[in-house]
């Protein structure tokens, strides 16, 4: 006989702990526990049997893995939190006693925790981290747009804005952006970084206020983690791209609301020893060429906080001169030496490597806007379109009212497109030059840019011209397989409609005609019946012959035959089948039946949704037609 098993000593009872037990074990407050859970990424688990896990009680509780909690128990952050608690007590005591100097020294020696080890634990490899930065990016972009208040400090918002700009800079620099979607919530962007799809949502530029029912402390704790995570991720991606991290910020430009343009990407010199020594180093920054000399000067100017305007002008002056070596910066990462041997291999061997495959198709669409120069009208959102256009290799300028740092003026000759979001207004006092300019440039609505990006090619501008009703903007992310497809729905719906009308019309006609032409119709009908029941080609052929003999021309016969076949199929076979299947359902086990019913329910719901939309579309089309006729 084995040892007697004791209750609660093994299995689920031991593997799970309730939240209150966890808090008790860790000897920390619930708030600290929450903070730890957020930072360490520990979440409740659902035991197979709640009753077994909770020692027989079925009270509603959250369960954690006991091992997770044991793992938290020797977490350095937990120790720091305890130290912080002691510190807070000491500080309040010192303040209460009016011991200012000791309070000051306490404040200076305040315990601060670092999250580096947590980042490394949660994301053992870099790819893991990149896979999980979606939420982090969303939060960073949200907080970058929030106003600061007592709970959200200005430095935090500044840091978020900096991180957001750094991410955008990187995406623009590597042309990693793939898809964009203008939704009612904000703008969704999807980029491909290190073969991972990263999607983030940026709210439109309006002041957001934090609702009262939102716990800011939770958000700030998340933000703490996300800032650290993104810092490390950006460090890695910048250094891998041969850039200096953090990118230096031009405070002057930043004050002038230059946004992303206030940062300048800087080549890390030590990182790329093989970069063309003969040429003077030229870096593409903000769509401009900057030589290494300029960079040095910029650094000097930042250090001295001297006039930032001087080098802006200088860089713009340089821009046209360096136009010819535009391709230089594009693939000057560390991967250059790796690519070099792979190139001949690609030509000789038939098997392309994964890397070459992934890089090949992007080359066309990644620099979609490279030949164009855009001008932003002042009512369009500059951060969105500056990012979009520059991420696809285009140049973009904007009026001073949208912020400083525009690389060219409105009357620049190179401008090919104007992104404008205003109704068309005829202006009386337009000079000839303006008219000419107007004629030469294409005025498009903002949706054109996004649709071009999603389509991967330049669409015709006419549909999106200023003042026109826009075609619908569809999600580039696609929907589930059975979902309603607004683009493909048109043909099927039209056919159905046609069929419906036909059937209705013909039914009436048939009733009328049947009496008069009964004798004539009889052979024809029998032929049709034969056609309907005909299962193979030979039988169909025989029926066709019979019909011909009865004096029906082939076109009508074919139509009728098809219809009759459909009817027959619809009529008997499915009914029988359905009856049998319904009876066979009796023999399903309870579990299977429930699963079946659940699946059927889901299918039905999706189909209903789809039919609903199709129906609506049909009625809208009809309405349109009627209006067109009237």
């Amino acid at each position: 006989m084995g040892r007697i098993k004791q209750r609660g000593k093994a299995g689920a009872a031991k593997a799970y702990v309730t939240r209150s037990a966890a808090v008790k074990k860790l000897q920390c407050s619930l708030a600290d526990f929450r903070r730890l859970c957020i930072l360490k990424g520990i979440f409740p688990r659902e035991p197979r049997n709640r009753k077994k896990a909770n020692k027989g009680s079925s009270a509603p509780t959250n369960f954690y893995y006991a091992k997770d909690i044991a793992y938290l128990a020797h977490e350095p952050v937990l120790r720091k939190l305890r130290e912080h608690k002691a510190f807070a007590k000491k500080l309040s005591r010192a303040l209460g006693r009016g011991e200012w100097s000791s309070a000051k020294s306490l404040e200076e020696n305040k315990p601060v925790y670092r999250l580096d080890h947590i980042i490394k634990e949660r994301y053992p490899t870099f790819v893991d981290a990149v896979r999980d930065i979606d939420d982090a990016l969303c939060m960073i972009f949200l907080f970058a747009s929030l106003p600061s208040d007592s709970k959200v400090s200005p430095s935090l918002i500044e840091n978020c804005a900096r991180l957001a700009a750094e991410w955008q800079l990187y995406v623009m620099h590597t042309h990693a952006l793939r898809k964009t979607f203008l939704s009612i919530k904000g703008v969704y962007y999807q980029a491909e970084v290190f073969d991972q799809t990263v999607t983030w949502l940026v709210p439109y530029q309006f002041t957001q206020t934090i609702p009262t029912d939102v716990d800011v402390r939770v958000m700030l704790t998340f933000l703490e983690l996300y800032q650290t995570l993104l810092g490390f991720v950006f460090f890695k991606i910048y250094t891998d791209a041969g850039l200096v991290y953090p990118p230096p910020l031009d405070t002057k430009k930043d004050e002038g609301a230059a946004g992303v343009g206030a940062f300048s990407l800087e080549e890390a010199k030590a990182a790329r020893p093989a970069a063309a020594p003969a040429k003077s180093k030229v870096v593409e920054v903000d769509g401009k060429r900057i030589s290494s000399k300029d960079v040095r000067q910029t650094i000097k100017s930042i250090a001295a906080s001297g006039s930032g305007d001087a080098d802006v002008e200088m860089s713009t002056a340089d821009a046209p001169a360096n136009e010819d070596d535009e391709e230089f910066v594009e693939d000057n990462t560390e991967e250059d030496p790796e690519d070099a041997p792979s190139a001949p291999a690609f030509t000789t061997a038939t098997l392309p490597t994964l890397k070459t495959l992934s890089t090949l198709p992007q080359s066309t669409s990644a620099k979609l806007f490279a030949p164009y120069t855009f001008w932003l009208s002042r009512e369009t959102s500059r951060p969105i379109f500056e990012f979009l256009v520059r991420a696809f290799g285009g140049r973009i300028g904007w009026p001073a009212s949208s912020g400083s740092g525009s690389p060219f003026d409105e009357d620049d000759e190179s401008i090919t497109h104007v992104i404008i979001d205003r109704p068309l207004v005829q202006r009386a006092n337009e000079t000839d030059a303006e008219k000419e300019r107007r004629r030469r440039r294409k005025h498009v609505q903002p949706q054109w840019v996004v649709d071009c990006i999603n389509a991967g090619r330049i669409l015709l501008e006419d549909l999106y011209a200023q003042g026109k009703t826009l075609p619908p903007h569809l999600s580039p992310f696609g929907e589930h397989a059975e979902a309603y497809d607004p683009t493909a729905g048109l043909t099927g719906a039209a056919e159905d409609e046609e069929m419906d009308e036909e059937v209705e019309g013909e039914d009436d006609a048939e009733v009328a005609a049947e009496d008069s032409e009964e004798e004539e119709a009889r052979p024809a009908k029998s032929a049709l019946k034969a056609a309907a029941t005909a299962e193979d080609a030979a039988a169909l052929r025989a029926a066709e012959l019979a019909a011909e003999a009865a004096g029906i021309d082939f076109g009508t016969f074919e139509k009728e035959a098809k219809k009759a076949q459909k009817k027959v199929k619809k009529g008997d076979a499915p009914q029988e089948e359905a009856g049998e299947q319904n009876m066979n359902k009796m023999m399903m086990s309870n579990k299977q039946r429930k699963l079946y019913e659940r699946m059927k329910y889901g299918q039905k719901k999706r189909a209903e949704e789809r039919q609903d939309l199709e129906q609506k579309k049909r009625s809208i089309e009809k309405e349109k037609k009627r209006r067109a006729k009237a």
Partner: protein, 748 residues
């Protein structure tokens, strides 16, 4: 006492500082007074001697102490005078009861101790009890309430109760006697006794919240026993010279300090650098070293990507109609299918801020850290593939598919039907007491019998050589012979039911009475044989024939309502003395001497030959309504009022092999076909379900159950549907009786 005081006074000038201890305040307790005084005397003597010693060793210290003493002297004198007054008070107290202690110097400690005179153990020694003549001790005095005395004195004589006046006397006493208000009632003596002055003093002190001890002085000056002047340790404990480290600065400390100083000078240590790192975290290549070998934590599931409906400019069909909008607004935010309403804007500049943005972000974060995550395998299967693949019903013909004829029973519920063993006749009984005999093929009614009361059950005898059937009505079972029987069969039947020579009556009288009409007088109009069961209000629920046609079992509502009737011996017996639960149904095993008894929840299987319980089957049905056994005897189906049908493989288990739930209402009847692999079940939903049930001889193959057909046609009256189904032997035909007063025959 006065003498000692005087001595003290004379010596006072030379008293050492320790003797400045205050003289205690006058005390009511002489022993304490004695203690203090004694101690002073002795200490004084002692100090004389010690002083002498000191003078020899450290004369300079002695001198300083003297000078200090001079200054204190006057105060001490004042104190002394006060004390003297107090002491005189104390000496006035003659009421002390304790013997006076002597104070001597202990040989061991050198401290003064009090020594009391020895107590002589005779009666007089204990002065505390002297003046209490009542020697009853500390007992509840109410024991003496009824007696003239209050106790006994030391000689055993009664101490009489002192005369106690009435209230007026008491009052007068308080007026007359000036001590009356300072006297208290002495329980022991049952009389008033004046309080002593010290007792009064204690009361006064207690009233004034003072210490009850009169000698206690809260403002005593501290006695410095071990410290203060003259108490210094003048002799060192160790003669070792003072170590050098006591007064030379440490070399090693200096070296350590210099190291720090040098570091500060060189800038290696910043003196007032705050320990906390400045706000900006430092980033480095964290992923450069090798990752740990353990698996990475599973990444959080990503939120679903937006669809077309979230577009700022969706196709028009996505825009909700006013009804949809209203419905969306009316539903609780938690129940909404999507958290936003699709909207269409003509231009991007018109798109407003999304006001739930922060809330949605927040709820995502709550999901991340609060929601339990479970990994689920998504089934990518066609739901139709879950439906079991069974042979097509068309390949399993014949089975009843249509209603060939219908015999109306005047809208009266028909509960009982039975088909004759040759399959030509059906007898049906309804609730109005009519029993009809009709023909299966055309439905022609041949004869009807009218009884009083509801017909509960009818059953043909399965014997082929005779032809009769039993009808259960109230507490009677009638045996009827159908008309127009061929001669030999008729005589055989009459011989069976009403033999010329009755078998001997059983030894023990049975409560069941057997009454038969002699064969000569019998006709098909009246029952030839009638059994009267012990009276029960309800008709017998069920009649079951043994396959040989000699035994008939009847079940009725009453407790212990199972009876076994043997036709040949004209004898009835109750097989069970007591059955747990109410018996619903009984059944004979088709081949073995086994007997099934269904109570409300269980089916028990008995061996009649050995009179033992073989098995208890648990179908898991709340209330069993019907039961039938497969002709092979190895399978049993049980139907219940809770819509379940259980198939038992008796060889396999006590638990059902299969539980089917397909009827919408309670099952009423189940029946196996005697020859075809078919069974049918009828239900209160008015439908009859036909199954193909193939049973295999080898034990390895499970029985094959295929649903074949649902027969509808019976109406539902007052929630009651089809009461009974019976198969026609040798034909795939079914006879069913319903609550709508119809009996139908279903043909293949």
């Amino acid at each position: 006492m006065a003498a000692t005081d005087a001595k003290k006074l004379s010596k006072k000038r030379k008293v050492a500082p320790e003797e400045e201890a205050p003289v205690p305040a006058p005390s009511a307790f002489p022993q304490e007074v004695g203690l203090e005084m004694g101690s002073e005397d002795e200490d004084g003597d002692e100090d004389e001697a010690s002083d002498d010693g000191e003078v020899e060793d450290f004369p300079e210290i002695d001198a300083s102490s003297d000078t200090e003493d001079e200054g204190d002297d006057e105060d001490e004198l004042d104190d002394e005078e006060d004390e003297d007054e107090g002491e005189s008070d104390a000496s006035d107290d003659s009421l002390h009861v304790w013997p006076k202690p002597k104070t001597v110097i202990s040989d061991i400690t050198g401290q003064p101790i009090r020594v009391y005179p020895d107590i002589e153990p005779d009666y007089d020694s204990d002065s505390s009890t002297e003046d209490t003549p009542n020697r009853v001790g500390d007992i509840p005095m109410h024991w003496y309430d009824d007696l003239p005395h209050v106790g006994y004195d030391i000689n055993g004589k009664k101490v009489l109760r002192p005369a106690r006046g009435d209230e007026l006397d008491k009052f007068l006493k308080t007026v007359e006697d000036p001590e009356a208000w300072t006297s208290a009632f002495d329980k022991n003596m049952q009389s008033d006794k004046p309080l002593t002055s010290e007792e009064l003093d204690i009361i006064r002190r207690l009233q004034q919240n003072e210490n009850p001890d009169a000698n206690y002085d809260p403002y005593e000056p501290t006695v410095e026993w071990f410290t203060g002047k003259g108490k210094e340790e003048v002799m060192p404990l160790s003669a070792a010279p003072e170590p050098k480290r006591r007064w030379v600065p440490s070399k090693w400390e200096k070296q350590k300090v210099m190291k720090i100083v040098r570091a500060i000078r060189q800038g290696r240590i910043l003196p007032n650098k705050p320990k906390t790192a400045s706000g900006a975290p430092q980033f480095y290549a964290i992923w450069n070293e090798d990752p740990s070998t353990g698996p990475a934590p599973a990444p959080a599931p990503k939120p679903t990507l937006p669809g077309n409906s979230e577009s700022y400019n969706p196709p028009e069909e996505y825009v909700p109609t006013p009804e949809e909008r209203k419905k969306w607004e009316e539903t609780d935010p938690e129940d909404r299918e999507r958290e936003f309403l699709p909207q269409k804007y003509a231009a991007l500049r018109l798109v407003p801020a999304y006001d739930n943005f922060i809330k949605e972000r927040f709820s995502r974060q709550l999901d991340l850290y609060l929601a339990p995550r479970v990994q689920r395998v998504k089934l990518r299967i066609d739901p139709e593939s879950l439906i079991p693949k069974l042979p097509s019903p068309s390949s399993l013909r014949p089975f009843p598919v249509y209603r060939s004829l219908q015999v109306p029973h005047e809208e009266v519920r028909t509960r009982a039907i039975s088909v004759s063993p040759d399959g030509a006749w059906v007898v049906s009984g309804d609730e109005s007491g009519l029993v009809r005999l009709w023909e299966v093929l055309v439905g022609k009614e041949v004869k009807r019998w009218k009884f009083k009361g509801k017909v509960g059950a009818v059953e043909w005898c399965p014997r082929m050589d005779v032809s009769f059937f039993a009808v259960g009505i109230e507490d009677h079972i009638h045996f009827l012979i159908p008309p127009n029987l061929p001669g030999p069969i008729l005589t055989a039947t009459q011989n069976v039911l009403a033999p010329a020579t009755l078998p001997p009556p059983p030894a023990t009288a049975s409560p069941v009475k057997w009454n038969s009409v002699p064969a000569a007088q019998s006709s098909s109009d009246a029952p030839i044989l009638t059994l009267s069961l012990p009276s029960s209000p309800e008709p017998p629920k069920q009649l079951v024939w043994h396959r040989k046609g000699d035994y008939l079992a009847s079940v009725s509502e009453a407790q212990g309502g199972v009876w076994m009737h043997q036709i040949s011996r004209r004898h009835s017996q109750a097989p069970f003395k007591k059955v747990k639960g109410q018996v619903q149904l009984v059944l004979f095993h088709p081949t073995k001497p086994h007997f099934f008894v269904a109570t409300q929840r269980y089916v028990r299987m008995y061996n009649l030959a050995e009179q033992t319980l073989l098995k208890t089957l648990t179908p898991g049905i709340r209330w069993i309504s019907s039961m039938d056994v497969h002709p092979s005897g190895d399978h049993l189906i049980v139907g219940g009022y809770d819509r379940k049908l259980c198939w038992f493989d008796l060889e396999l288990s006590d638990k059902p092999y299969k539980i089917l739930r397909y009827h919408a209402r309670a099952l009423r009847s189940v029946a196996f076909h005697p020859t075809y692999p078919l069974f049918a079940s009828s239900s209160d939903d008015g439908s009859i379900q036909i199954f193909h049930a193939r049973v295999y001889n080898d034990l390895m193959t499970n029985p094959l159950i295929v649903p074949l057909k649902i027969l509808r046609g019976h109406g539902v009256r007052e929630g009651l549907g089809v009461f009974a189904v019976r198969w026609v032997p040798r034909q795939p035909w079914l006879v069913s009786a319903g609550a709508d007063g119809q009996v139908a025959v279903w043909c293949a």
